[in-house]
């Protein structure tokens, strides 16, 4: 009975700005942030959420239905499914981060060069980007992963490489707009070197849409990495990667549906949350 007043006090103590923003935010957005926060916590400190090992099970306790002992039941080798999902979050999240980072950095560089230099360089780069955009992202990722070999990082690189073209096209458009603006001309006029102007004025002002796209890409990267994991191109077993969990559980769909439904729902929740957040980012930036 003592806690509710304390909460009210805490809010009023922080001032009305936070409260307003919290009220203004839709419940969906709050929920999305909560989901992402939870998953990040899983990745950072899995031991807080489960005491079971993700890779070593008790074979005698195989295929148990969900119970207080095993929140989401156990798989065919007696491993706790909840523990596997929690421990798996670090693979999915780090993979998605690597993928987005690769797409963002490489795509931005390409877009910056193409948009600022223009002419033949622009044409060449953009035609390459056209070709990349014409190939379905999953197909491109698969081709890359066949060449580089299977594994979590390789899958992340493959997904990231497939998103370079999207980033490049987006950044190029912004760079062209910013490049022609008066303050950039003024910066050149006042004697700034080409590289310095690009770095100090063009790049920072061209990145807003790229960041919103990155948030969106984060969700789809998780989905793509799970897809690769599901198809068996990602982390090797017994790594509890989410896509692999779904793939391993699907054989038991008629007798133990939760083995594939639970990791599937987690992936859906995280991807939807990332999408929701990216929409909010896109809207709040001018």
């Amino acid at each position: 009975m003592t806690t509710p007043p304390a909460v009210t006090n805490a809010f009023s103590g922080r001032g009305s700005g936070h409260l307003d923003r919290l009220r203004g935010a839709s419940p969906g957005l709050v929920l999305a942030w909560l989901v992402i926060a939870l998953v990040v916590l899983w990745a950072a400190a899995p031991a807080l959420f489960t005491e079971y090992s993700a890779t070593v099970g008790v074979p005698a306790e195989k295929l148990r239905p969900p119970s207080p002992d095993h929140l989401l039941g156990t798989d065919a080798l007696g491993r706790d499914l909840f523990a596997r999902i929690v421990h798996g979050s670090v693979h999915s999240l780090s993979g998605a981060l690597v993928a987005v980072a690769i797409g963002l950095v490489a795509g931005t560089m390409l877009g910056l060069v193409a948009g600022s230099i223009g002419g033949l360089v622009d044409d060449t780069l953009m035609r390459i980007v056209d070709v990349l955009l014409a190939v379905p992202a999953l197909l491109l990722s698969l081709s890359i992963i066949i060449l580089t070999g299977f594994g979590t990082i390789n899958a992340a690189v493959a997904v990231g490489a497939a998103s370079v073209a999207g980033f490049a096209r987006l950044v190029r458009a912004d760079v062209i707009r910013v490049r022609r603006s008066e303050y950039v001309e003024a910066a050149f006029g006042s004697g700034g070197t080409y590289a310095a102007v690009l770095w100090r004025h063009v790049l920072p002002n061209s990145l807003t849409s790229a960041f919103a796209f990155a948030a969106l890409q984060f969700g789809s990267a998780i989905l793509s990495i799970s897809t690769l994991g599901f198809l068996g191109y990602g982390a090797p077993p017994p790594t509890p990667e989410w896509g692999l969990l779904i793939a391993e559980g699907r054989n038991y769909i008629s007798s133990a549906w939760w083995l594939t439904a639970a990791p599937g729902l987690v992936v859906v929740a995280v991807v939807l949350s990332a999408n929701r957040i990216s929409r909010a980012v896109g809207r709040s930036t001018p």
């Binding site: 005698a60 080798l77 070999g149 299977f150 077993p237 017994p238 391993e248 054989n251 008629s254 007798s255």
Partner: protein
């Protein structure tokens, strides 16, 4: 005591009652049971698409499921007694040294393209299987050893001559890899025979059409009249046709069967058995009677070159736990290199015991010390092995993960890998990449051990001079010599003794960790009658009929 006996009486009464009831129902169903119905198309769901259908490649389950329906063999191996009985050959004679086999061929047999199946055709078949054909890329059959040439005595008599005694040859004429095909098929090159319509056999069914990788339709030959002499059923097959549909997803096959969209499915996993049996569908799990489902080592890899390391891993593998966790009563725990129903079997279970303490001792003797991460290391090299999931083996991925978990307890890491089939095929030839592999092979003859281990055949240990050119030094002449002796020994008793000896040798060297006796698990709807399997668990639909 009285309690027990009254219980026993009650139970026997119950049994008697049930028996009477079943007799009554049998009596009612008797007309249907007694008279097989001709007609209908059977839907057969296959887990994997077939590969090349050149008959000697028939060992692959999906291939044999098709080849067994469209080709006949010279002889028939009775799946119950394992005796060799007449089929296309009505009789045969063998000389004392087992170097000459003469077969009398049944008159009036034709291939489905109309060519007669005579001495000339049989000779052409075995010349190709026994010697291979480099120009057409045909490999040598693994079931025919020491083959020299054929002689056509008359239109229906053919003699095969061998360089050295070939005691396994008679059984070799009965196996799936020795299906007889029309000379027209052998005129093509190996690369063309991935197309099932190009395989012209004399079997009870012919290939009607095929959508590669998806579906294959067989139709019955109405003029077929040369089934194995021993079978009660003669004449054409009861079924009008069979539709093979490739359905890789386990749950889809089970669902289709239980909902009545399929009649027979191949490869039902142990965890699906209860729900199938609960609906009174039938599970057939005939034994493949060959080399057990096992992990084999490639000793050319320095990590597993030491027999003590291999032995340690053998004793660290808890096969009972694997069978209990992942499999069912249809998958007996392995007790030797070959299955207990195989010819020449000898129980080796005393030397296959689960004993992790002994493993630790053996590894310590071999110089492996625990590193800071718990994994054993020697001279800075970690004892970390890799293995590929083996798609044809049931639940290979889950099983290998369990083995990895068991080996982790003695400080050995096993990575379970997966890749595209092209990379797997290349990596499996390189012991440095795959020091361990998951295999099995079925054949009801002592030669099966040679098929599996000899460098000229499947070469599972990857010896120098075998299938792989990446081998630096590993050769085991003692093993090869023993295997060749089995293939050439003319006295059946001595042959079995040699077979027992080689099993002991393989376990002594710990070349192999036998896991379980692999059955081929099929499930069929209750209305499918007369489903038969050959001696190595390949389905035969010749006498099958649909009671619906």
């Amino acid at each position: 005591m009285s309690g027990t006996s009254s219980f026993a009486t009650r139970r026997s009464l119950l049994v008697a009652g049930l028996y009477a009831l079943s007799l009554a129902s049998l009596a009612m169903a008797a007309p249907a049971l007694a008279q097989p119905v001709t007609g209908g198309t059977l839907i057969y769901l296959e887990q994997q698409a077939h590969t090349n259908l050149y008959p000697t490649a028939g060992g692959f389950y999906p291939n044999s499921g098709i080849l067994n329906q469209i080709t006949d063999k010279l002889t028939y191996q009775n799946p119950q007694t394992l005796e060799i009985e007449p089929w296309i050959a009505t009789s045969w004679t063998v000389n004392d040294t087992l170097t000459e086999y003469t077969f009398k061929i049944r008159p009036g047999v034709t291939f489905s393209d109309g060519t007669p199946l005579d001495a000339r055709a049989v000779a052409r078949n075995f010349d190709t299987y026994g010697r291979g054909d480099k120009s057409r890329k045909f490999p040598v059959s693994e079931v025919i050893n020491n083959y020299d040439h054929s002689e056509i005595i008359d239109d229906l008599t053919v003699k095969f001559v061998f360089k050295r005694p070939s005691p396994g040859f008679l059984q070799g004429t009965a196996v799936i890899g020795s299906g007889l095909v029309s000379p027209a098929t052998l005129d093509r090159s190996f690369d063309e025979l991935g197309d099932a319509t190009k395989i012209i056999g004399s079997g009870p069914f012919v290939v009607e059409r095929e959508t590669l990788g998806k579906e294959l339709k067989l139709k019955a030959r109405t003029d077929y009249n040369w089934g194995p002499a021993r079978l009660a059923h003669q004449g054409r097959a009861y079924l009008d046709g069979i539709t093979f549909i490739v359905t890789p997803e386990d749950s889809v096959r089970i669902g289709a069967l239980l909902s009545g969209q399929a009649d027979v499915i191949r490869q039902i996993q142990a965890y699906d058995e209860p729900q199938v049996e609960a609906q009174s569908f039938l599970i057939y799990a005939p034994s493949t009677r060959g080399v057990n489902n096992a992990l084999v080592f490639r000793p050319d890899n320095p990590l597993v070159a030491d027999a003590r390391v291999r032995k340690a891993l053998l004793h660290a593998t808890n096969t009972q736990e694997i069978v209990d966790t992942l499999f069912s009563r249809h998958y007996p725990k392995a007790t030797s290199v070959i299955a207990s129903s195989a010819v020449g079997y000898e129980d080796q279970s005393a030397r296959l015991a689960y004993d992790p303490q002994r493993s630790k001792k053996l590894l310590a003797e071999a110089g492996w010390q625990p590193g800071h991460d718990g994994i054993l290391a020697r001279d800075g090299v970690k004892l970390e092995l890799s293995i590929y999931e083996s798609l044809p083996q049931p639940q290979s991925k889950a099983m290998l993960q369990l083995v990895a978990q068991q080996w982790a307890q003695i400080g050995v890491r096993l990575n379970v890998l997966n890749a595209d089939s092209g990379s797997i095929a290349v990596d499996l030839l390189d012991p440095l990449k795959t020091p361990v592999a998951h295999t099995m092979v079925g054949r009801a003859d002592p030669d099966v051990i040679k098929s599996n281990f000899h460098p000229a055949n499947r070469d599972v240990l990857r010896q120098k001079g075998g299938l792989s050119d990446k081998i630096k030094s590993f050769v085991d002449e003692a093993l090869n010599g023993r295997l060749e002796a089995i293939a050439a020994e003319t006295d059946p008793e001595k042959r079995l003794a040699l077979t027992r000896e080689v099993q002991a040798y393989i376990i002594d060297q710990a070349y192999q960790i036998p896991i379980f006796e692999e059955p081929q698990a099929f499930a069929a709807a209750p209305h499918v009658k007369g489903l038969a399997f050959d001696a190595v668990a390949r389905p035969s639909f010749y006498s099958t009929w649909l009671d619906k």
